[in-house]
Symmetry: C2
Subunit: 418 residues, 2 copies
């Protein structure tokens, strides 16, 4: 089937799900989880073929992301069961009011309809995304990366077997069969057929969606996150937070890429920062963080001189750009000029500085005295996550089930005319 045929089939199937009860959807999810486990051998075989094909052509770290195992498939099934256990986001009454003319106005959540997801990463996104779309009452069209095509296909076949076993149309979960760039563009331009497009991937994919999409689209993920160490910071806390935000998982979008330091505290803080991120890590046999320093920072500690681009780069690596700033207002201005609007944190003991920072920084998540790594659906208590929105329309920050539905007004009268 062509990509558009797949989208049309999803659209034809969506009503079966939009009208399904919470119980029916949960039954479907449990059947999907069981089918994943049942078909584990076939999935691993398909995955082995993907790995075979990719070996030698992609870096080892990518091979590792691609690799499935019995444990990883079991983890995918567990993820689907967790989605089933979450409260149903559809049919919630957001408000209800009787108007002076007697009309009863009810605002209720409804499914999006058809959600398309373009992703590049691990095959487990296939089952995660399908589970969240299904739980939120929408059909989904998945377009994964070509390296994982056989694995994704086997996973989707299992999920569809689960759907069929409870009498729902298999077309509610589909994988695009064309993994060329053309199919991604087709999804972006499927106006009237795709109700929501979620790109999950690198900056290039997000940019392509922003530039080409004619369907409603949510930008996700790119994170140039800042930690500002204020004059009134507890330096031990600041060290812990910067270390955690930079090194606990550098490849993810909520990792810090930039550290801004108040000029008054820089002489005390920067040597300790260098010791923590470079010397101590080296002593432990860990990869040291490369510090890219602006002029003022370079006058205080050794490191690589920062180029202009270093303050506008999502390194996703053990690299941290460091700049010395005049005060909290200068930090806010720097963030406004360079941030992608994902997550920023101030470390300070000064309530006024904290208040200025939380009011003045216009990002999805603004922290006081905590690591940016907490920007995550699970950590925010959403129970799951379809991605992290860095735009302001519809959803901002981690998108859980509540962010995957729309609403409509139901108005009941007894003959009212205007």
């Amino acid at each position: 089937m062509t990509t558009l045929e797949i989208v049309r089939a999803a659209r034809g199937a969506k009503n079966a799900l939009m009208l399904a009860s919470a119980q029916q959807k949960n039954q479907a999810l449990l059947a999907m989880a069981a089918a994943l486990e049942d078909q584990c051998a076939a999935i691993l075989k398909a995955n082995e073929a993907d790995l075979e094909n990719a070996r030698g052509t992609v870096p080892d770290v990518m091979l590792d992301r691609l690799r499935l195992s019995e444990e990883r498939v079991a983890g995918m099934a567990r993820g689907i069961r967790e989605a089933a256990a979450l409260p149903d986001p559809v049919g919630r009454t957001l408000s209800e009011e009787t108007r002076p003319n007697g009309l009863v106005l009810q605002k209720v959540t409804v499914p999006m309809g058809v959600i398309a997801i373009i992703y590049e990463s691990r095959p487990n996104v296939t089952s995660d995304a399908a589970a969240l779309a299904l739980k939120s009452g929408s059909a989904c069209v998945l377009r994964g990366g070509k390296e994982a095509f056989r694995s994704n296909n086997a996973i989707v076949e299992a999920l569809r077997a689960g759907l069929r076993s409870v009498g729902l149309p298999a077309e509610l979960v589909s994988l695009v069969q064309d993994t060329s760039r053309a199919s991604a563009t087709e999804l972006m331009k499927a106006s009237g057929l795709v109700d929501l497009l979620i790109p999950r991937g690198g900056a290039g994919l997000i940019r392509a969606c922003v530039e080409n999409a004619t369907v409603p689209c949510i930008q996700t993920g790119t994170g140039i996150c800042h930690i500002y160490v204020d004059k009134a910071a507890d330096l031990d806390m600041a060290l812990n937070i910067v270390e955690n935000a930079k090194t606990s998982r550098p490849s993810v979008c909520n990792a810090a890429e930039v550290c801004l330091v108040h000029k008054d505290i820089a002489p005390a803080f920067l040597p300790r920062l260098r010791q923590r991120l470079v010397d101590e890590r080296q002593a432990k046999g860990l990869e040291p963080v490369e510090l890219r320093l602006d002029k003022a920072a370079a006058a205080l500690i050794p490191g690589t001189p920062a180029g202009e681009a270093d303050f506008d780069t999502e390194f996703l690596a053990y690299t941290l750009a460091v700049a010395v700033v005049e005060d909290v207002q200068a930090a806010i201005r720097h963030i406004e000029a360079h941030s992608t609007g994902h997550s920023e944190s101030i470390v300070t003991g000064d309530a006024a500085a904290a208040a200025a920072f939380t009011a003045g920084v216009d990002s999805a998540a603004v922290y006081v005295n905590a690591s940016t790594r907490f920007t995550d659906g699970g950590e925010f208590g959403l129970g799951c996550e379809m991605g992290i929105s860095t735009q302001k329309l519809h959803a901002r920050g981690p998108m859980g089930l509540a962010e995957l539905v729309s609403y409509k007004y139901i108005i009941r009268g007894n003959g009212q005319i205007r």
Copy 2:
């Protein structure tokens, strides 16, 4: 100034408003209203020049829309004062929660930043849109139609004088000086500069935005609204509702364009519908409604045979397409195939039919026994309206102040790392 210079200036000014208190914004709005009244003579003079220029080149109905008067300017000032009196949509805490790790997670409403509005219609949209943008904490860039350019400019000059008088930057409200199609396209493509684009106008403008916009955009307004007269309808009520939805103001988006009639009731209902919309109106000297009938309807009453396009046309005129349907499910399928997702209504005394209709129809506003004309910010109790969204992302139906803001998370900790 070029269009992009104007957008950049708005962006530079926006922080003054994002951090303003509710009181400061309301002072600014009251000053803007007063300035409009003060500069009424200049506005009317500019409007006279617009009218002079347009006379003979545009239809009379459009001249009437373009025309301002002391009363209309006073009405614009009143609209701004009403916006000032509404509750502030910014800084509302949507949720607050302490996570198990002690992080205090707060979700608060924040302004969009820069809102661009492209509109074609009356000059009063200029002050309405500016007032709602300002009240919601955003700078606005207005791009009106060329026929109203002098009027719009005079209105914006007055609004800016009001802003200056309370010490706010005039750049918070700007009118694009180029009224060619190029400036609209520039706004649509101003990624990173425009946070939200709202097109207000006809289907052509909306389509151009959907096809070209790289900035977040909300589709508004196009309304192919349906009234379904069920087998169990009270026929007098149905006649009143169809008449009201079709004839009370045919040029607006919440007017009905299509009437679907259950086959069992069609022989009784259609002759009365024709009598009400054609004969009685003619007898009263009112413009009769042209009925465009599908085959089954044409077998019961005289009228124009409907072409295929008639069920996909927003007539915005005294024209109504009429079809006979098998039952409520057939009505739902017809609506799914032909509706723009704006407003639909069922007239019925049967609770099961009403429940099927409200569950199965996926439009912004779904009515039982009431006219579609109620889809309006004022009628819904929002106090105002920036437009009516027909998409599912972010806002659906009438957009009031709550739909013109975004949110962010503020997370307060005491050193938490992950």
